[in-house]
Amino acid sequence: MSAGATAVAQSLDTGTVTSEPRKLGFAAYFACFRGIVWREVLRFLHQTERFFSALVRPLVWLFIFAAGFRQVLGVSIIPPYQSYVLYEEFVTPGLVGMILLFNAMQSSLSMVYDRETGTMRTLLVSPFPRSFLLVSKLLGGVSVALLQVFAFLLVAYFWSIQPPPITELKLFTGYEAPHWLEGIVPSMTEPSIITFASVPAALQPVMGYIFVIPALVVAGLMLGSLALFMSSIIKQLENFAGVMNFVIFPMFFASSALYPLWRIRESSPLLYEICRFNPFSYAVELIRFGLYGHVDLVSLIVVVSCTILFLAAAVFAYNPSKGLIARRGGPGGGA
């Protein structure tokens, strides 16, 4: 590592008890962050069956469900698509969202499990600020999710689901506020697309995959912080079936992952509003637009705001003096 670390090494080399602790500088923060993320990745790579089950789930949806629905659901030309697309192509960003959703919930479950083992407590005994530790832990989870997403996109690529070459990066704005928000949130009923950068020819074929990464990170962080908050307030989260029924399925089905929202609106205006209230819809749209070189402004605002909100709630819940853990006598506490 850096010169700073060497200096620390020398000052502590005596091995005796020193009372003044070393200062935690930038290098220390980085070492901590890297250590936490690397541990999540290592753990994931050591659990091969987890990798395959994470990959098989979206592939079953893609190969079987989407193929079956191809003839049932026609997708008209809606942004970001510039031509008719097959249902498989439409559903791919939704399945990417599903990977992020499952991964977030799974890591929140593992945190409940960790609470009972000493792992979570060891993390919280670290001298770094707790918010930093929790965000690092979440980004570790997101890194694992990114590995899964790109493995899935690679298989999908050979199933000829390939985002078109991106020649220009565009900003998309368009939003129709629901009735109950009218006057509070401005409507942008005339969708507009502004080009803000052009892409060098060499990067064009892969630009969709690169451009979607920030979208995946923010969306993953949003779902992860939601799951983290849940892990601190819900005691009986050990049961994955319960999480599936009460969190994953409602979030996944009441969203734009499987069907365009305008089609839901035709069948049920109420369901349409529920889907639009669901932050997961915006995560999926952010990913969908990202894969096609677009920034969907409204989705970006919603996802970033939700991330901040959920993260603040999670940090509050893990705060030693105010948090919910203290009130409940949690992580393995009590006695």
Partner: protein, 256 residues
Amino acid sequence: MSKDVSSGAGAAALVISGVSHSFGENRVLDNVSLVVPQGSFTVLLGLNGAGKSTLFSLVTRLYDNVSGEIRILGHDVRRRPTQALQRLGVCFQSKAIDSDLSLLQNLHYHAALHGIGGREAKKRANDALGKVGLLDRAHAKVRTLSGGQARRVEIARSLMHRPGLLLLDEPTVGLDIGSRESVIGIVRDLVREEKLGVLWATHLIDEISATDNVVVLHKGKVLFAGTVPGLLEAAGAANVRDAFRGLTGTITAEAA
């Protein structure tokens, strides 16, 4: 970094004064005070449910002490948590190392949690494994270790940032006699050679040696704090077991 008056070379490894804690109506700790001097082996003796784990949760700042004060080498846990936690090493009762990863990978992770990376982490991992006698297993996965060996890795883990105070919460639970002796021996060596302050929570009376400090915690109250001879005198008993029974009025103390 500002210097506390009470910090510096002379500060005790751990000072707990007047700490109480409740979960709802249930008062788990009642005005608990104790001191762990540097270079001392202090046994926190109490039955299950005495409040040992809660006390550990407060010292490790899992939740805040609502009343009273906790200082680690002079640093107040609430007001200067970073400095306090930097000087603190903990072995929790439950497992804190990953079975799927190797010993070295585990130790590197814990070095990272204290901001130590790269070559320095490698050096410290080797040192720590040497101290617990597991250097030859450095690349083995934790799941291939015996229970006693895994415990020793936990101790190596808690030494990675060279703490001044080491907390151990019932570290010998579930170990056979040989492993127990080896774990206790390692920790006693650390106290002697590194001048570590150790707080060893247990309900096993035979883990106490005549030169230790003893704190008897019962139903959230400290009934006695001092040396072993002091304990025998205070209770008017011939051995620690009888002294413990006399003080707590229980006859259920673990047979050792």
